[in-house]
């Protein structure tokens, strides 16, 4: 039952979820210039990170319960920091050695598998509206495994909207798209940085 509920919520609000993840994932996929299969793999890494973020929240939701859920919502500072970390990763990726082949290759830990997972994890920790709904629902459950099952189902439901982004691989021969993707990741990072700073200021 919890699984079905989570799945339904994910399916119902997945388009909004995709709109929230798109700004992070789309520039990254374009900049990689991979084919559809490579993109699917990258999206899977991204989603694995996102699932980890969700499950972390599932644990929090279980531990916090309904009352604390409200207080976490208002805990803007935490999300401010998350935004800033995400911004840092994207700015680094986007602008580091603009013109070089692959900025992240040079920074060992940020290799092509870990980086999308890190992006996914940080995106998973963002408070987008459907996610808040899921969080509130999971917080009511009171049992850890139910809360985790609910979030996992929610993740599956929303993923239906994210996987089709692999189609961007069709444009892989257009070299310009790689530059555009890289730079867009950097600009997006600056945008998240504003959001992070504003969140911190409003904390």
């Amino acid at each position: 039952m919890d699984f079905v509920k989570g799945l339904m919520l994910g399916l119902a609000s997945g388009a909004v979820c995709a709109a929230y993840c798109g700004p992070v994932l789309i520039p990254y996929l374009l900049s990689r210039g991979g084919n559809i299969l490579n993109n699917l793999l990258t999206i899977l890494y991204f989603m694995a990170g996102r699932l980890a973020g969700y499950l972390l929240f599932a644990v929090l939701a279980w531990a916090a319960g309904m009352a604390a859920a409200a207080s976490i919502k208002s805990e803007k500072a935490v999300f401010g920091v998350i935004y800033i970390v995400l911004a840092g990763a994207m700015i680094f990726y986007g602008f580091k050695r603009a013109g070089g082949d692959c900025a992240v290759k040079r920074a060992g830990f940020l290799c092509s598998t870990t980086f999308p997972a890190v992006l996914g994890f940080l995106t998973g920790l963002n408070l987008c509206p459907p996610f808040l709904l899921a969080f509130t629902e999971a917080a009511r459950m009171g049992v850890l495994w139910r809360s985790m099952l609910f979030f996992a189902a929610f993740f599956v439901g929303t993923s239906v909207y994210i996987l089709p982004l692999a189609i961007l691989g069709l444009g892989r021969r257009i070299e310009a798209l790689r530059y555009v993707g890289r730079l867009a990741a950097g600009v997006m990072g600056v945008f998240y940085l504003y959001l992070g700073i504003l969140s911190l200021k409003g904390a």
């Binding site: 709109a19 700004p23 520039p27 013109g99 730079l183």
Partner: protein, 388 residues
């Protein structure tokens, strides 16, 4: 070199005075209708003088452009004048109708935000997903912007950026100040930045259901209207607007002698490049005549030419059809061209076919702003106040 340029250019478009007068006649007629707006000619001098001066100015520019064949030089004069007059006319009108340049929440709720084509790429996805328009204003006003945009795009494509945009003349004006550029080389990768900005604003507008370019990135907020400062967020936004304006519209154009806002940042320019396919004109290099001297590459204000594109014989999609390269090429190898026809075969006809709609757009966009600005100056001289 300058003389060489003129002689070769004359071969392409310049003509005799009589022919130039004849070719100016259609513009004389159409701008006559445009300047008066089809209304009877006003009797008061303060209304009549601005219209007459604007009419004479626009038509003299067209005549000189045709007579000399120096498309870019005379376009620039009109385009920069229009941009400068736009600031004066727009802001004084704003202050008269709304009381100040400040945009309040109430103005936004009432949909009192003026026309801006930049809205188009931002509203498409949210409109498709939610059936709502994420910009203050009615469906009808957005609809009319869309129709106007489609018309301009079909007629000129990215030519909008050199013949229509009310902001383009600002960085073009500043790019003309220095005699020599201080910064000469800009990494080609940065010429993709405007597409990246476009991608970011489309995605973030879809995610946040708000026009993120208007809220966060528009440099021209600095000289048109800006949001009332009511929070730290608006302070940050205002600092960004002023920094972008100073950096991209003033300082960088002076240092590089290029239109850095239009060529490197403006997402509307990128959007026009993507939709440029709808338009029949492009700029082509006759590779048989070209000696690869790269003068055109160095002079293109929006970075639309590089060695590779010259070798391939065509400007990149970011070409704003300003005519500068046509003017500087000592071999007369570059011309406006109608897609699907021979390169170099129809140079003169293609140029004329392009110049008429392009110039008319500039005249339509510019005439109201120029006469409006002259009117404000006369008002100031005669009454001591720039406002009615």
């Amino acid at each position: 070199m300058a003389d060489n340029n003129r002689v070769d250019q004359k071969r392409r478009l310049g003509t005799s005075a009589v022919k130039a007068i004849l070719l100016t006649l259609p513009i004389l007629l159409l701008t006559g209708l445009m300047v008066t707006g089809g209304q009877p000619i006003p009797k008061e001098a303060i209304r009549l003088i601005p219209l007459a001066v604007t009419y004479l100015f626009i038509n003299s520019i067209f005549f000189l452009l045709i007579y000399s064949g120096r498309i870019s030089r005379y376009r620039t004069i009109l385009f920069v004048t229009y941009a400068a007059c736009f600031i004066l006319t727009f802001t004084t009108n704003l202050i008269e109708t709304r009381g100040s340049m400040i945009l309040t929440q109430e103005n936004m709720v009432k949909g009192e935000t003026p026309f801006c084509p930049m809205v188009i790429p931002m509203v498409i996805i949210p409109a498709a997903l939610t059936k709502t328009i994420i910009f203050p204003g009615s469906m009808a006003s957005i609809g009319s912007i869309l129709v106007a945009w489609l018309g301009v795009t079909i007629a000129l494509g990215r030519g909008w950026c050199s013949w229509g945009c009310f902001f383009g003349g600002m960085d073009e004006g500043f790019s003309k100040i220095a005699r020599q550029p201080v910064i000469r080389n800009i990494n080609r990768k940065w010429t993709y930045l405007s597409f990246a900005v476009l991608l970011v604003i489309v995605l973030t507008s879809a995610a946040t259901l708000s026009p993120t370019y208007c809220e966060w990135l528009c440099p021209f907020k600095a000289v048109t209207e800006f949001e009332e400062i009511t929070s730290a967020k608006v302070v940050v936004q205002t600092v960004i607007f002023f920094s972008l304006f100073t950096g991209l519209v003033v300082v960088m154009p002076i240092l590089t002698k290029r239109r850095t806002q239009c060529g490197l940042f403006c997402p509307m320019g990128a959007f026009q490049s993507l939709t440029n396919k709808l338009n029949v004109f492009d700029v082509r290099v006759d590779t048989n005549k070209c000696t690869q001297c790269n003068l055109c590459v160095k002079s293109c204000p929006v970075f639309a030419l590089d060695e590779e594109s010259v070798r391939k014989g065509r400007a990149r999609v970011t070409c704003s059809k300003c005519g500068k390269c046509i003017e500087v090429c000592p071999r007369g190898a570059i011309s406006f061209h109608i897609k699907g026809t021979d390169v170099g075969g129809n140079g003169r006809t293609a140029q004329l076919m392009f110049i008429y709609p392009a110039f008319l757009l500039l005249a339509i966009m510019g005439s109201g702003m120029i006469s409006g600005a002259i009117y404000r100056v006369l008002l100031l001289i005669t009454t001591g106040s720039i406002l009615k």
